[in-house]
């Protein structure tokens, strides 16, 4: 059974064009079943992402895959696309400039940020504030943005990858902060994927729904007690 970090790593591989070997390895029947198991377990996990349940952690309503995803999405999730199908989808939708482009980059979708930064170009433009944030955050953590993501440090794959890295480095509370703060735009992106009205998109929509559901678990929690994640980290 995969733990949360691995689940996020697998998810981060699904929103970018990859190599055949790697994709086949990911979607091999055993590995994929392992991933689904890990994902289901993560979603139902009623504790914070932090491995060690902090004292007196409240019951958070876990959500089950069944009540989150529609029938067609569940079916799409069960059988991951072949590499050819994924490659085709990535090469038509994860590239910019086309009517059916659906580039998963937060700057293009981030909705209202509450304060206007005088120098920040407007929504719908690359390298928005969230891109600057991800760039500064990765460098301050001693990590580096690969060159092919130069235009989009806030690409969904990088955000998910960073969450996985933080989980693996025992920084679960920070990972949770990222899930809450950096995945808010996925509802907007989900509408974009649905707008493609393509059968192949269901797989990616179901992955996005999984993330939205995971985030929803923490947003209700974190709304009540704003200080919680930082409290854990300070320990």
């Amino acid at each position: 059974m995969m733990d949360s970090a691995a689940v996020f790593s697998v998810l981060s591989r699904c929103f970018v064009e990859g190599e055949q070997a790697e994709w086949d390895e990911l979607t091999a029947p055993t590995a994929w079943a392992d991933f689904l198991g890990g994902a289901r377990q993560m979603l139902q996990d009623t504790h914070d992402l932090a491995e060690r349940a902090p004292r007196g952690s409240r019951r958070i309503s876990g959500c089950h895959l069944r009540d989150v995803l529609s029938e067609s999405e569940l079916k799409a999730l069960a059988v991951p696309p072949t590499f050819a199908a994924h490659d085709e989808f990535a090469r038509t939708h994860f590239t910019g400039g086309l009517p059916y482009s659906a580039v998963p980059v937060e700057s293009l979708y981030c909705k209202d940020d509450d304060r206007r930064d005088p120098l920040e170009p407007n929504r719908g433009l690359y390298l928005g504030k969230t891109a600057d944030y991800m760039r500064d955050l990765t460098t301050s953590l001693g990590l580096s943005i690969p060159d092919e993501f130069r235009a989009c440090p806030d690409h969904l794959s990088l955000e998910l990858d960073l969450i996985a890295v933080l989980l693996r480095s025992g920084m679960a509370a920070q990972a949770q902060t990222l899930v809450v703060e950096r995945l808010g735009w996925l509802t907007d992106y989900r509408m974009k994927l649905i707008g493609l009205n393509e059968e192949a998109a269901n797989f990616y929509i179901s992955l996005v729904d999984m993330l939205v559901c995971e985030r929803a678990k923490f947003t209700e929690a974190s709304d009540e007690e704003d200080e919680r994640p930082r409290a854990v980290a300070k320990r």
């Binding site: 206007r116 930064d117 920040e120 407007n122």
Partner: protein, 180 residues
Amino acid sequence: MARYGMLIDTTKCIGCFTCRTACQRQNGLLDDEAFIRFETRESGKYPNVHVETVPLQCMHCDDAPCAQVCPTGAAHMGEDGIVQVDQDRCIGCLYCMAACPYQVRVRNSKTGSVDKCRFCTVSAYTSGTKMCTCVEACLTGARTFGDLDDPDSEISKKIAETGAAPIAPGLSKPKIYYVR
């Protein structure tokens, strides 16, 4: 204490919108956020037609109607006679937009707060650093900026020379004078 104002010579305004985009670049504004609006007036009958384009922006009125009605004190008369809007106090009730006789305040589509021309060119005027403000970017030099209290300033002399007057009488005490 200076009292800054501006003179706009509409006989030189060709309606090319350069001031609007230069202001957006200089102040990092949103694409749909324009601190300058334009009114075009056609008069006369074909073929004797007279065309006039009038740029309008915050007049930084001495008796700022916007500051009078702003409940949170966000819109207030700052130093040197420049009306400012404190973005951290504004709740976006838009009352100042209703009060402004010249309709030159805009609501920021992202934050919901209201903003307007900030006479940002004052720092170019005082410090001499070149900026792409409406005054400096205008292709025909239709704008003159300066201290109205200083009789020797270029703007004071020009106002005296041309008899420039506010765009419409009796609405408020604006600090932008028009030559038409």
